[in-house]
């Protein structure tokens, strides 16, 4: 090892080889059988349970936990997957602390919720590790539907449509399927190539063809899809990123956090991913935390997450904030970037402190920065298409856009949080509406 955390600049291999495996290991290791039984025993099997209400996909959580407790984890998995075909990924990446586990009555009672996310993973892993796909296709309907985007929304929609007997062609611009599951989530949240394994498992339903390298645009116009298919579902995510908006930000080392996260996920070995000694992440959401934590895990000496408001306003959950600080990330609040210093490459970034009213205080601070990772939001990239609601595609509750025969869901569509689980729910619900529309069962 020739580099370490003190090496100035942006370099790869700050840690010794073995350390990377530990650093990027599963954030929550899988529950062992007895651990799962003990955790499942804590569920009160609530009536009309608050956790179900809190789940965007309405998984019957008390039922699946009881199925685990009674020694039938595969039945539990089927309960989960019948509502949420990506229940395995959601078990890993859902911010359960703000969803089901926040709603858990034992959180109210003791501040210690039932470990719903980890139990969900226990069940889905149990089934999927056997390669079993518990759903069967209905008789063919003769209809073919185009899905654009092989992320959580698109694949959820595709699976449900395939299960209902339709044929589905999924178009995706990336070389791999999975969308943000594959490109946008911290490595330690989905280890062991799970994103691809889940896609392969999901496609076992049959009737789904995935075509890579095909993005919506000149080569794949929406009008063409509308003409060629019985229906179209758009699950195209948010392909654009918000820029820092500073005149002198065009310096080496100023990166989009989503690209950093994606490059790290796709790197065969984390040891080959260069990282600065001093890293500053700008933003307050999940992407900012994922980037900051991973910068630290790669061996950066100083990582600062700078956010323009107070911690209570951050989109990242308290759990995520605490995860960041526990890994050694410093969270700096009430700081708005005003200038990037450096000659060619970034050297420092200067902030002005602002009050809760976002008014400048006149006080500034400079932080050393070999890298600035920008995570201040993503935007829809769609030139022409359905009407927008604000910056997203306007959709009805069942996912219909302003264009006849075109549905949309996931991060690109209005309504709901930008979460994997929300995208899965929207894809599923759109599929049900497409099915009802095509089959005349409205």
């Amino acid at each position: 090892m020739t580099q370490d955390s003190f090496t100035p600049g942006v370099v790869a291999g700050r840690l010794d080889d073995a350390a990377y495996e530990t650093q990027f290991a599963d954030l929550h290791p899988p529950l062992a059988n007895h651990e799962a039984l003990v955790a499942a025993d804590r569920c009160y099997f609530c009536h009309d349970a608050p956790c179900i209400t809190a789940c965007p996909t309405d998984i019957d959580i008390p039922l699946f936990i009881r199925q685990i407790a009674t020694g039938t984890p595969d039945a539990a998995a089927k309960t989960i997957l019948s509502q949420n075909i990506m229940g395995g990924m959601c078990a890993r990446v859902c911010p359960t602390e703000t969803l089901c586990e926040q709603a858990c009555v034992r959180e109210a009672a003791e501040g210690k919720p039932v470990l719903i996310g980890q139990l969900q993973r226990f069940a889905t892993d149990h089934l999927q590790s056997k390669g079993v796909h518990p759903f069967e296709r209905a008789a063919s309907t003769g209809k073919t539907i185009a899905v654009v985007g092989a992320g959580p929304a698109g694949l959820s929609c595709a699976h449900r449509l395939a299960m209902l007997g339709h044929d589905v062609v999924v178009h995706d611009g990336h070389p791999k399927s999975g969308g943000l599951n594959e490109y946008g989530i911290a490595t330690y949240k989905t280890t062991g190539g799970y994103a691809q394994a889940e896609v392969d498992w999901l496609c076992q339903i049959g009737g789904i063809t995935i075509k890579h390298g095909q993005s919506l645009g000149a080569d794949l116009p929406l009008t063409g899809l509308q003409a060629d298919y019985d229906a179209v579902f758009l699950g195209i995510g948010l392909g654009g990123v918000n820029a820092l908006g500073l005149e002198n930000a065009d310096k080496t080392g100023v990166l989009d956090a989503v690209d950093f996260i994606s490059d790290l996920r796709q790197a065969p070995n984390a040891i080959d991913v260069p990282i600065g000694r001093d890293v500053v992440v700008i933003g307050g959401g999940m992407t900012a935390v994922d980037a900051a934590v991973q910068a630290k895990l790669l061996g950066a000496l100083n990582v600062t997450l700078a956010y323009r408001r107070g911690r209570d306003r951050m989109n990242a959950s308290v759990f995520e904030q605490d995860l960041a600080t526990s890994k050694g990330v410093r969270i700096m609040t009430h700081a708005v970037p005003i200038t990037v210093h450096g000659n060619g490459a970034v050297r420092e970034i200067e902030f002005e402190y602002v009050g809760d009213d976002m008014q400048g205080t006149g006080q500034t601070v400079r932080l050393a920065a070999d890298q600035v990772l920008v995570a201040i939001g993503q935007t829809l990239q769609a030139d022409a298409g359905p009407d927008l609601d604000g910056k997203k595609i306007a959709v009805t509750e069942s996912g219909q856009t302003s264009l006849t025969g075109v549905w949309a869901g996931g991060d690109c569509a209005s309504g709901g949080d930008d979460l994997t689980v929300t995208a899965v729910a929207e894809g599923r619900d759109a599929a049900m509406d497409i099915h009802a529309t095509l089959m005349g069962d409205v």
């Binding site: 007895h34 025993d41 009160y44 609530c46 009536h47 608050p50 009555v105």
Partner: protein
Amino acid sequence: MADLTTDFIGIKSPNPFWLASAPPTDKEYNVRRAFEAGWGGVVWKTLGEEGPPVVNVNGPRYGAIYGADRRLLGLNNIELITDRSLETNLEEITRVKADYPNHAVIVSIMVPCEEEAWKAILPRVEATGADGIELNFGCPHGMSERGMGAAVGQVPEYIEMVTRWCKQYYSKPVIVKLTPNITDVRKPAAAARRGGADAVSLINTINSITSVNLDTMSPEPSIDGKGTHGGYCGPAVKPIAMSMVSEIARFPETAGLPISGIGGITTWRDAAEFMTLGCGNVQVCTAAMTYGFKVVQEMISGLSDWMDEKGHTSVNDFMGQAVPNTTDWQYLNLNYIAKAKINQDDCIKCGRCFAACEDTSHQAISMSADRVFEVIDAECVACNLCVNVCPVEDCITMEQVAAGQTDPRTGRTVDPDYANWTTHPNNPSATAAE
């Protein structure tokens, strides 16, 4: 600190916690360690008659029922009486008693229902210096097939006959251990008393099959693919045991007969409860088999602290205190009216009370859109199911409706006077209240 020393039918022990006749008391090594750990007495594992000892199975002897986190709630066993020679046991009993003169050493005995058999063994047991004997009329498996154990305990005439022999050929106290595998436990208890027993002990284990292996279709514990019923014990049997104890304590023919309480006693509180129902001391087995001899330390400290708190200086102060309050259903006060009350500050909104009441009881709990659960007094019969299923202790309580108030369920004014079924107008055989 309260005085825990106990004088049970003249047998003194430093505390009321004895180890029951069972695997933990099968040999000198265990019993010495038990006394060192703090147990007040032991009932030595049952001795059989002279000659080749019984044999045990060489596969599993125990089966179990579990609660959360594999907490052992019920244990069943198919072990027989001691499988060591009579001579060995007698020698060990003699040595132990000599070394522990202040601890209670009782010898459990099971020999055939023949006078000669008892006449032969009793002098040899007496020679050990042990403080008394316990007649094993309870073992429900194996030995009962040979006409001993529960096979005797199920025939009151045999109990009386054997007890009489023992009182004739043995000079120290005789305790008769009763089987619960019988319709009315008062009958064998009365028979024991007629035979001259100094005390009864109960319950022995309950016939049980703990589980069936759904792959092999064999009951567990399984011996080469076959199972047999065993004797059930542990925390799960405590309510059954306490009911039987209370029956004997308040039955005119057996009231006042000293009782050694047995059945799922796991904590000091269990022991105290048995004693308030009329037991002079208690015997423990499963708790020791689950956690080791050390559990007695909690039992000692817990009982002592509780006695101090209540101002009891001796176990005699509270022994039998709950017996007068144990009665027949027909004497319960039907003019006592209560309603469930949900403390909204403590409620965690799980809705279990609602599900239980709505689905299986009286539809007496309402649920609002924002999950506020409230009792509908006009429907509540005070059944207590909501209290039982609520995971939060004391969140739901039963509140008495004061006399003079109107019960919204019946529209009637609550009567301050006691009235029971025997005088109720709906009772066809009611006798008019005077």
